[in-house]
Amino acid sequence: MSRKVLIVLLVLVIAALAVAACGGKQTPAPTEEAAATQPPAATEQTAAQPTEKPAEQPAAQEGEGTLATVKARGKIICGVNQAVPGFGFLQPDGSFAGFDIDFCKALSAAVFGSPDKVEYRPLNAKQRFTALQSGEIDVLIRNTTWTLTRDTELGANFAPTTFYDGQGIMVRKDSGIKTLEDLQGASICVSSGTTTELNLADQMAARGIEYTPVVFETADETTGAYLDGRCDAYTTDKSGLVARQSMFPNPEEHMILDETLSKEPLGPVVRHGDDQWFDIVKWMVFATFQAEESGVTSQNVDEMKNSDVPTIRKLLGVEGDMGQKLGLDNAWAYNIIKQVGNYAEIYDRNLGPDTVFNLPRGMNSSWKDGGLLYSPPFR
């Protein structure tokens, strides 16, 4: 009996050593991966050695660019919010709508020439980075704040900010709370895994205000607890506050304090390690900025194709092969504008004067109107 065990152990040790020995040299693999990520022209070369490819299939899948994966799949998997009306919201009919959702559509328009080649993956604040890191989603467009830690440690790459926001605090009007200082000894409801819970801790410590955080996973639980009176206040991005307030049974009983606790630049996020995909997402956003700046809208985009302003001609793919450089069709930005709209159209549709939110553009205006939206040149 013990001899058998010994033999088994021996074999195991040998096997382990053998595997461990080849574990050291990992370097030869990248050459193949590099070949796979190159644009179409290179694929023909790789196809010349058919013996290697099939065997490498599962591993190569990872090394392949996101663009190739997305195209092969026929749709983009977009990580979104489902609980914040106006930004990312799952509607009663099962479809998603909102400002962030429109950027998923814009990306789909850029890649596929159609806005609805998107699979929406609703994620709560806590799940989103793991979903991004693990490759479960191709892009995260879900009121996500750009921070240094997320940009580095969380393996995320941030595309340009689409919505400049700041953290706010909501209280019941009859609570008598007017400023942060009035929150001494209060319980505050907050969602976990957010910048919100960190800012709250920072700001309260800085002002010496003692409080009890009551932390829940989803916005529904958090606001539910606040509405039940479990907390004196509810805090998140001001946009989120306004959005959630619109869902309250008696919105007029609540108010948002004037103070802003933090900077919350919200924008799309991709994984580290795929520059081409990162570029595509970045320029998809810039295209919406530039279109607004140049006065191109979904209404006039066809006429604008005849414009002789060079920037517009390049934006719309009339000259300069801008799309090709991104690995896309030259009509990529034309499709975004035609099918989804420029930034102003996206904003107004979801948050503008005709909606319940009626959020003033403020910082989220084009730089020409004194805002922060600024696209690098299309050239």
Partner: protein, 397 residues
């Protein structure tokens, strides 16, 4: 015999020899499993490397930067991630330990009630067991949190029990003793009283073993302890001042302060675990009692033991042997189920761990730590229960 076997062995090549084949198959399976594991681990490591976030536990030393609602130890946003995890671990231990104690008590009561000859008690116990065993725990927890504890009166309308306790949807507050001037002296008196009480109990127990007539040794010990504790209270009061005072909860500003408080989050997960697990324990207890042969009960009755005595002295000790092994797995379940605390906002290990995953981006590391901790909890519980099992067996002969 031996010669025959030898020639036998020579005739069959080893790849067709069943004895070798058995070993070879096992080796192959083990090697395949190990290779698969190694492949998966390497895949993970290179994947993380590609993302630029290689496996590392250094983050544990960084400041967490977030606050935690309730903690058994000193903790603030400047404490490390490691300490945040410790807060979570202690909160898990707190709810699991209290949960196990109370689930056992309720389970035994309900289990016995289910065997009651009283129709009402019997049926009520049956409904309790059947209803609770058949509701998913998560659903039950969310019900408790949103529909029970959050719907208690708001702070300004708190339900008061003559000022000794308050019931609100921010928590349950009860009056609680706090150490004051004389405590430093009194705590030693208290310890002394306890030791003396213990010694008295042991002496009485030994006496019982010797004479064969067991006195209520624990009652003896307790009475001695209480009497000494009361007497020494006055001595301490005389020497050093009042040892403790009663801290009454009161509404200060927006929340109650003072006394002992239990948050609705804790109450939700605690009540959920206790009620849910006790339904299973009740069934185990019932089965255990029914497994004791009828003759034992009849014999006990014939000896003139009362119903309660029969249960305590004859039936239950024998039922324990059947009860303990499945009980162990209920305790393990309760501890593992405590990770559902995240759904009701109680900061247990899993809740704090997943916050860290998100804030530090260290999914794999934190998951590894969490698995290690839960495994340790489970192994320790099993170890203790196995020890207890052996112990009860020995006593039973």
């Amino acid at each position: 015999m031996t010669t025959l076997k030898k020639s036998d062995h020579a005739a069959v090549p080893f790849w067709r020899d069943e004895r070798y084949l058995k070993i070879i198959i096992q080796v192959v399976v083990v090697v395949l499993v190990v290779l698969a594991a190694i492949y998966l681990v390497r895949n993970l490591l290179t994947g993380l490397e590609d993302l630029g976030i290689p496996l590392s536990f250094k983050f544990l030393g960084i400041e967490s930067q977030f606050d935690i609602g309730e903690s058994l130890i000193e903790y603030s946003r400047t404490s490390t991630y490691a300490r945040a995890l410790l807060v979570g671990i202690l909160n898990t231990i707190k709810v699991s330990f209290l949960g196990i104690v109370f689930a056992t008590i309720f389970g035994i009561i309900v289990g016995i009630a289910r065997l009651s000859k009283n129709w009402l008690i019997n049926k009520l116990a049956a409904i309790y067991v059947e209803a609770l065993r058949n509701i998913p725990l998560l659903v039950f927890l969310i019900f408790l949190s949103t529909s029970v504890f959050h719907k208690l009166p708001r702070v300004n309308e708190a339900l008061s029990a003559w000022g000794w306790a308050y019931l609100t949807n921010r928590g349950i507050y009860v009056v609680w003793p706090q150490p004051s001037a004389g405590w430093d002296v009194y705590k030693w008196f208290l310890l002394g009283s306890f030791i003396i009480g213990l010694i008295v109990a042991i002496i009485k127990y030994r006496e019982g073993v010797r004479t064969g007539r067991m006195p209520l040794y624990w009652l003896w010990g307790m009475v001695v302890f209480v009497v000494l504790a009361v007497v020494s209270w006055f001595i301490a009061l005389f020497i050093a001042g009042q040892p403790m005072y009663l801290d009454f909860p009161s509404l200060q500003g927006r929340n109650f302060k003072g006394g002992k408080s239990l948050t609705p989050e804790f109450m939700a997960i605690f009540t959920g675990l206790v009620v849910y697990t006790s339904a299973f324990i009740a069934e185990i207890v019932r089965a255990g009692i029914q497994a004791v042969s009828k003759g034992q009960r009849e014999a006990a009755t014939a000896l003139g033991l009362s119903g309660f005595q029969t249960m305590r002295l004859v039936i239950f000790p024998q039922a324990l042997r059947v009860i303990i092994p499945p009980m162990t797995s209920q305790y393990l379940n309760l501890t593992k189920n405590s990770s559902l605390a995240i759904a009701v906002g109680y900061p247990d290990l899993f809740a704090v761990g997943s916050t860290i995953i998100n804030q530090a981006g260290r999914a794999v590391e934190v998951i590894l730590i969490m698995m290690g901790v839960y495994l340790t909890f489970s192994l320790l519980t099993s170890l203790f229960m196995n020890w207890y099992n052996k112990h009860t067996r020995l006593v039973e002969r």
